[in-house]
């Protein structure tokens, strides 16, 4: 494939292809496209250290959310509880393999890969270097982006608890609180475009 020469100091709106000159944003400013209203650039509220701390915290609650049971229900003294993986394996065994795969991918593999990639990239970026596999991982992060659904799962668990409450004694377990926290971290991350790492971390001299 032929390579095209890059052009500096220009910014193109992703939603409508309007070309802008790059301008430094002041604190609290958001650059919006005057044609279509899309956000062109947000100020970076978090430095690399703060981002690394965020992703570490997100990974910890993710592990907790996955090893602890999410919800327990009781009926006549019998108690049942489940974890996220319990849910996935039961859907697989109950003739809903497609649902098991969707659940495993959107609630486990993609969010986990995404967080590990971010952690790996930041670990090296903080040392002013590009991580091994930088290019492939930046691409993977772009393609995985839309497929994390942990926040939907939290709402789903809430709905399931209310539905079960009509017939059973329902107790939310530690896992669901970890997931609720994870949702907050994911929301914070959704507002951060890590593509700036392309610019801010120099290519390694080989």
């Amino acid at each position: 494939m032929a390579s095209s020469p890059p052009v500096s100091r220009r910014l193109i709106c992703e939603d409508c292809d309007t070309v802008y000159r790059v301008r430094e944003l002041r604190v609290g400013e958001i650059a919006r496209c005057t044609r279509c209203g899309a956000i062109l650039e947000r100020p970076r509220r978090f430095g690399l250290d703060a981002l690394a701390a965020l992703v570490a915290a997100a990974l910890i609650v993710f592990v907790q959310g996955n090893i602890w049971p999410v919800v327990s229900i009781g009926l006549n003294g019998q108690q049942n509880s489940t974890t996220l993986w319990g849910m996935i394996t039961i859907m697989w065994a109950d003739h809903s393999q497609i649902v098991a795969v969707i659940t495993a991918v959107t609630l486990f593999f993609f969010p986990l890969s995404n967080m590990l990639i971010v952690a790996w990239l930041l670990f090296f970026a903080r040392r002013g270097r590009r991580a091994p596999g930088f290019r492939a991982l930046m691409l993977a992060m772009y393609y995985l982006g839309p497929w994390t659904m942990s926040e939907v799962f939290v709402l789903g668990a809430l709905v399931a608890m209310v539905k079960a409450k009509a017939y059973f004694d329902v107790t939310p377990d530690a896992g669901i609180y970890a997931y609720a926290l994870l949702t907050i971290f994911i929301t914070v991350f959704a507002g951060i475009d890590l593509r700036y790492l392309w610019d801010s971390v120099p290519e390694n001299k080989t």
């Binding site: 309007t18 070309v19 919800v71 969707i102 691409l139 209310v162």
Partner: protein, 207 residues
């Protein structure tokens, strides 16, 4: 208002993946020098891909709504629920707020996605400049809310895993939930394959 230049006017092209701005060499197989992705002025075959995925999504959406998604068995008493009957049940059990949330996620959001994408596709294919800012906003809205439709799929999965009291009470997933999950996945692929830049590719050059 001065006319805002677009990438094609200036002979520029932005990488869809890493957003690097490059000079458009006019070559068909140009690659982004930074991330290596293919440089494309527009997403490839955006209209036909989006239509195909949207039609496929609509086909699976029919059994997703007609077939039951979940079976509740308690002491031999069998009760099958569809998406809509699940919402009605929540409403009857005095959880109106939650009923509205589930109704929005499972019924309003998929319908909105179908209608919005059809509108965006038809308008862009006709090259009309009608309501362009609103169409741009509509696209961003469906990108933002699209995945919330997966709500009911997770509810069924969680209830199936929880309600396992042998003959006393149990919940099983039914085929409707599989079709519903597929609908959500297909509509997400459809909106990802739509190129929002097409909304602004009008036939007449506006002043």
């Amino acid at each position: 208002m001065t006319r805002l230049p677009r990438a094609a006017d200036l002979g520029l092209i932005a990488c869809h993946v890493c957003s690097l701005v490059c000079r458009d060499t006019g070559l068909q197989d140009a690659a982004c020098p930074r991330c290596g992705s293919a440089l494309q002025r527009r997403k490839p075959a955006s209209f036909s891909r989006t239509w195909a995925l949207l039609i496929a999504a609509f086909i699976v959406y029919i059994p997703a709504n007609l077939l039951p998604i979940m079976r509740t068995v308690s002491l031999g008493d069998v009760d099958d629920n569809t998406i809509l009957s699940g919402v009605l049940e929540l409403w009857d059990k005095d959880s109106e707020g939650l009923a509205i949330i589930v109704f929005s996620a499972s019924i309003v959001v998929p319908m909105l996605k179908f209608l919005a994408l059809v509108t965006l596709l038809i308008c862009a294919q006709r090259g009309t400049s009608w309501a362009q800012p609103q169409r741009a906003r509509l696209y961003r809205l469906i990108e933002l809310i699209g995945h919330w439709s997966m709500l009911d799929v997770f509810v069924v999965a969680l209830l199936t895993a929880l309600v396992r009291f042998n003959v006393l009470s149990s919940v099983e997933p039914l085929p409707g939930v599989v079709f519903f999950g597929l609908t959500v996945i297909l509509t997400m692929f459809a909106s990802l394959s739509f190129d929002p830049r097409l909304t602004w590719d009008t036939k007449e050059t506006h002043a």
